[in-house]
């Protein structure tokens, strides 16, 4: 039987040539992911020249075609957390290279260069913040850090975020972007699927809302665990979301994939995400959902059934 490269999606998918909306090249640094300077810029998708300020105003979205430019982890935090409220925790958790992994490059060197490029310690940051004045626990992935891959550190931070939500009785919101499991941590990466799924399961029992936002791209072990377990699952427009990467599937079945396959719209149509929300409405939508699900405002008041978001 031909070898099926099932998880071959990891880390390389940013360069997928199937068109726009496939995430940025993970080879570019988090700090460097900037739309080129100048008053006018060219959209990656529709190729039209658009006014930069207009793109920035809508959270890095093309005004002509609604293409969502890739944004950095910090930009995402800025868009979702109420100003000045994000307080990171678990920042001290860093990789120990448990398998002493070395391929064409040592894992520790890959980590170091990803850290240098992105200014991040690993592929996720978690913290407490307010979202629309609702005290929450928020975790955001960076696809630019080793393809947003999940190893022990990402798994542990997700688990700690769930623990923090439980302890403080706050909702948990996770914004994903990941190629899947981090190969260099072998079985420990696989086991993070179990640990994270179990941890967010505790929120269910405690009656705390758990929302996930799947951004471009979200694949493999991250999708097949906590990302698909949200009480409400939101996707960004055109985001690629799935288990196996498109090229892996094409190699397996030796057929062209249908247009729009694994896009957010495809998942919505097949019933696997609740809604597709444009970036500029994301924060407001999260706030409204949290209110409906019984979250409390900073003032301690319930906003369930309220007229305004």
């Amino acid at each position: 039987m031909k070898e099926k490269k099932r998880t071959g999606w990891l880390e390389k998918n940013g360069n997928d040539d199937r068109g726009p909306g496939t995430g940025s090249d993970p080879g570019e640094g988090e700090k460097k992911i900037r739309i080129p300077e100048g008053l006018w810029i060219k959209c990656n998708h529709c190729r039209q020249i658009v006014y930069r300020k207009e793109v920035d105003r809508s959270g890095k979205v093309c005004p002509k075609c609604n293409y969502h430019f890739p944004i950095t982890l910090d930009e995402r935090l800025e868009q979702l957390a109420d100003p000045g409220t994000f307080e990171e925790f678990a920042a001290e958790v860093v990789s120990s290279d448990p398998l002493h992994f070395s391929d064409s490059q040592r894992y520790v060197d890959r980590l170091r260069s990803a850290q240098k490029k992105t200014g991040l310690d690993d592929a996720i940051r978690v913290g407490e913040c307010s979202i629309m004045s609702i005290p929450s626990v928020l975790g955001v992935f960076s696809f630019h850090f080793m393809g947003g891959s999940m190893g022990s550190v990402v798994g542990e931070k997700v688990v700690r975020a769930a623990d923090k939500a439980l302890e403080k009785r706050r909702p948990l919101i996770l914004v994903t972007a990941s190629g899947g499991a981090r190969m260099q941590e072998g079985i420990f990466s696989l086991m993070q699927m179990a640990r994270t799924s179990a941890a967010v399961g505790s929120l269910k029992k405690a009656g705390l809302p758990y929302l996930t936002v799947l951004t471009d791209p979200t694949f493999g072990g991250v999708t097949a665990s906590f990302a698909m377990l949200g009480d409400v699952i939101i996707a960004e427009p055109r985001a690629l979301i799935g288990f196996a990467g498109p090229r892996v599937i094409e190699q397996t079945i030796r057929q062209q994939l249908p247009e729009g396959f694994q896009r957010a719209e495809f998942l919505l149509e097949h019933g696997f995400v609740d809604m597709i929300v444009a970036r500029k409405h994301l924060k407001e939508t999260l706030g409204q959902l949290l209110c409906h699900l019984g979250a409390r405002r900073n003032s301690g008041t319930l906003c369930q059934g309220s007229q305004t978001g």
Binding site: G201, A224, F243, F261
Partner: protein
């Protein structure tokens, strides 16, 4: 929370070629399948079919059986026997409905207080158009999460290939056993070599680096017990292998029976919670 560093440095205790030989043994066409073991370890096996939603996935074998004087539920990956059978069973690569069938039978077992025997043998979850359309990710995620909530003893045994998320979808339990020449990995060595080395010829090195053998995984505390195989592999003496599996399952269930039932799920959670290695910056 306790500080978890790289506690043990796993030394290469065998040459790369020996690890690769285990990979080949784990995947061999004549390696005994879940069906072979169910026939020999249990009696009165009654197969149950279907996920009650879409179809019956023959990649997954599920049912009820007698095991050493008690009734149990079986969930297993089934690669098939003859070539035709293997094709029909998609080489043990399940679609979402396969995982959903397994979950349905496990929930049935829970309702009637039956312990669960899970046998793992899959290259992985099937990567295909329909699998994605029907929610491969959702099915795997749900199984993993719900296996932490199923309040009856679960013993997981990797009998051949433990391929990534597709294996883990049947892989949460109170005890995790591995046959001596079985493998369990986050990615196939071939795919790992292609991605990280850019050279599929490095598959054996990738296999060794991934620490996918029973011996490595026992050292890393992922696996509770290694079930010894006959000289040359499980296929050399199926009845002896089945006896060894039966003895290990029996021992595992006895140990789980000693756990107060109300602590079972908390212990299961704690067991997997330990499966992480990181360092804390001071």
């Amino acid at each position: 929370m306790t500080r978890k560093e790289a506690l043990v440095v796993v030394e290469r205790d065998e040459p790369v070629s020996a690890t690769w030989n285990r990979v080949l043994l784990a995947r061999a066409n004549d390696r005994p399948t879940a069906w072979d073991y169910v026939q020999r370890v249990c009696t009165n096996f009654i197969e149950l079919h279907g996920d009650r939603s879409f179809r019956d996935d023959p990649s997954i074998l599920a049912g009820l059986a007698s095991f050493e004087g008690r009734s149990v539920a079986i969930v297993a990956h089934f690669k098939g026997k003859s070539f035709k059978d293997r094709v029909q069973r998609n080489f043990g690569m399940a679609h979402p409905e396969g995982y959903r069938k397994a979950l349905r039978v496990m929930r049935l077992a829970e309702r009637f207080g039956l312990p669960i025997i899970s046998l793992i043998d899959t290259p992985g979850a099937y990567p295909g158009i329909e699998a994605e359309e029907r929610g491969q990710v959702e099915a795997i995620a749900r199984n993993i999460q719900e296996m932490f909530e199923i309040a009856v003893p679960i013993v997981v045994t990797i009998i051949g290939e433990g391929g990534s998320g597709g294996a883990l979808a049947l892989g949460v339990g109170d005890k995790v056993l591995m046959m001596e020449n079985s493998i369990y990995s986050v990615i196939s060595p071939e795919a790992c070599a292609a991605i990280l080395w850019n050279d599929p010829a490095m598959s054996a090195d990738a296999a060794a680096s991934l620490h996918l053998t029973a011996q490595h995984l026992r050292t890393l505390a992922i696996v509770d017990e290694i079930i010894p195989e006959p000289e040359g592999g499980a296929q050399k003496d199926l009845s002896k292998m089945s006896q060894a599996l039966k003895a290990s399952l029996l021992k595992a269930f006895e140990e789980i029976d000693a756990i107060p039932r109300e602590e079972l799920l908390a212990r299961r959670y704690a067991k997997f919670h330990e499966m992480v290695r990181f360092r804390l910056l001071s």
